[in-house]
Amino acid sequence: MNALTNRAKPVDRRKMNFMERIYLVAIFKGMMITFSHIFKKKPTINYPEKTRPFSPVFRGLHILNRDEEGRENCTACGLCAVACPAEAITMEAAERQPGEEDLYREEKYAARYEINMLRCIFCGLCEEACPKDAIYLSETFAPSDYQRKQFIYKKEDLLIPHPLKQPEEYKKALGNKVKREKAN
């Protein structure tokens, strides 16, 4: 049988000589190898204090978007729920009442919008399906919890902060998305 690579080494089955049989030399060599590892760089990252940088295409927790005046983009059309392969998204639509124009951008809005983060596979198809640029995936991931029901994210959990009332939080939640979009 031919070897697939040239990296295979044949086993050395010669009799060991005296120096090899007392093992002390081999043990010393091995200990030197472990000792040299003291000075090597440690790949571990101290997680909560430091985080690993995400790649620009990372898909994390969902965010429901608002426009520049702070009105919700979502019209509860249900395309995201249809697109979702894991069936993680449910919603209920409602009609905008007079006087709510500064809350919702169009006449129809989502009264209830839930994503089950345990079902979600973070594929990003909802983001692609959305005609209103209302949902996108951010650069954080769902934190751990003790209860399953904590993983069903309500609309309040998903909505981005108000751009006029909380501009700093809004900018933070927007993250690198703006830069990415400008680059496109």
Binding site: M31, T34, F35, H37, I38, K41, K42, T44, N46
Partner: protein, 350 residues
């Protein structure tokens, strides 16, 4: 006659005993922490760093956790023996510290206080006796657990310790021929004036070191608690602080055997290239204790370094090494030393 004791002496010794016991416990506690750190560093990891700065409170957290764990005593084990096991393991581990010369004399309150609890004239034999007692804690605990795995672990530990005790004893005999005394204090004093014993007994030291690894049940000879063969070895059935005692006794043993090796072969509290008599007595005693501790830290690091480098022996390899290699080697070393001592005694110079 009952009250005709030197009260000052009693107080002095009591204080010394408390200090030695506390110190060996605290050092053993931090050895568990050091073990995890050394393991991490040798494997390119970081190790525990959450509890306190640099994880310095980690051993306290570990101890606290063990105290709060549920205590389980198996239903049909012998309860008294089940409790006796870990207690004996701990007791024998701590008892050895009594004869170790921790430092030179200090001068306080118009008294010369020796930093040694008991200068018995056969200190090294005492250490040996206590070490040979140590196996009972493991055996009784393993048997009382009424579990096949713990029984096997206990039997392995017992036969391993008995086998390696022989080679250890014979290598010690060669050392005793050189020093001509059994008292640890006198050995240290002799090493302060002349060379360290390692210069006279390199082979003896190597044998002693290997046997010390085996006696402490440390890797590469940790067959008594080989996780992947015996689940956990002799302490499978133990929980809570009784398990803690077993684990802790291992570290106290490691500390004590490091101290013994430093004392026997590396001059104890002797500071090399320095004549202690020229300086203040108390300061020199303090530096001597620190020097001993530095040597001990070196040995403990060696224990850990070996543990995270060398894989575990197979049981037949262990027995072969003990009976067919170490004992003949120790006998040869003893014969050679005896011949040389005799020749030197008869006026040869070399």
């Amino acid at each position: 006659m009952l009250l005709a004791i030197d009260m000052a002496l009693v107080i002095e010794k009591l204080v010394l005993i408390v200090i030695v016991v506390m110190a060996s416990l605290v050092i053993a506690m931090y050895t568990t922490f050091a073990e995890r750190k050394v393991a991490a560093v040798l494997q390119d990891r970081r190790g525990p760093n959450r509890a306190g700065p640099f994880g310095i409170l980690q051993p306290l957290a570990d101890g606290l956790k063990l105290f709060f764990k549920e205590e389980i005593i198996p239903n049909f084990s012998s309860k008294a023996l089940f409790i006796l096991g870990p207690s004996l393991a701990m007791l024998t581990a701590i008892m050895t510290g009594a004869v170790i010369p921790w430092g030179d004399k200090v001068h306080f309150f118009d008294r010369d206080i020796s930093l040694q609890i008991a200068d018995v004239n056969m200190g090294i034999l005492y250490v040996f006796a206590v070490v040979s007692m140590g196996v009972y804690g493991i055996m009784i605990g393993g048997w009382a657990s009424n579990n096949k795995y713990s029984l096997m672990g206990a039997l392995r530990a017992a036969s391993q310790i008995i086998s390696y005790e022989l080679a250890m004893g014979i290598s010690l005999i060669a050392l005793l021929m050189v020093t001509g005394t059994l008292s640890l204090k006198e050995m240290v004093v002799a090493q302060q004036q002349g060379l360290w014993n390692i210069a006279y007994q390199p082979l003896g030291f190597l044998i002693f070191l290997i046997c010390a690894f085996a006696e402490c049940n440390r890797t590469p000879f940790d067959l008594a608690e080989a996780e992947n063969e015996l689940v956990g070895g002799y302490h499978v059935e133990y929980s809570s602080m009784k398990l803690g005692f077993y684990l802790f006794a291992e570290y106290v043993n490691m500390f004590i055997s490091s101290v013994v090796m430093a004392t026997l072969f590396f001059g104890g509290y002797d500071i090399p290239f320095l004549n202690e008599a020229n300086y203040d007595q108390n300061w020199m005693a303090l530096f001597g204790v620190l020097m001993l501790m530095a040597k001990v830290v070196g040995f403990i690091f060696l224990f850990m370094w070996v543990r995270w480098t060398i894989p575990r022996f197979r049981y037949d390899q262990l027995m072969n090494l003990g009976w067919k290699v170490l004992i003949p080697l120790a006998l040869f070393n003893m014969l050679l030393t005896g011949a040389l001592v005799l020749l030197k005694h008869n006026g040869w110079h070399f």
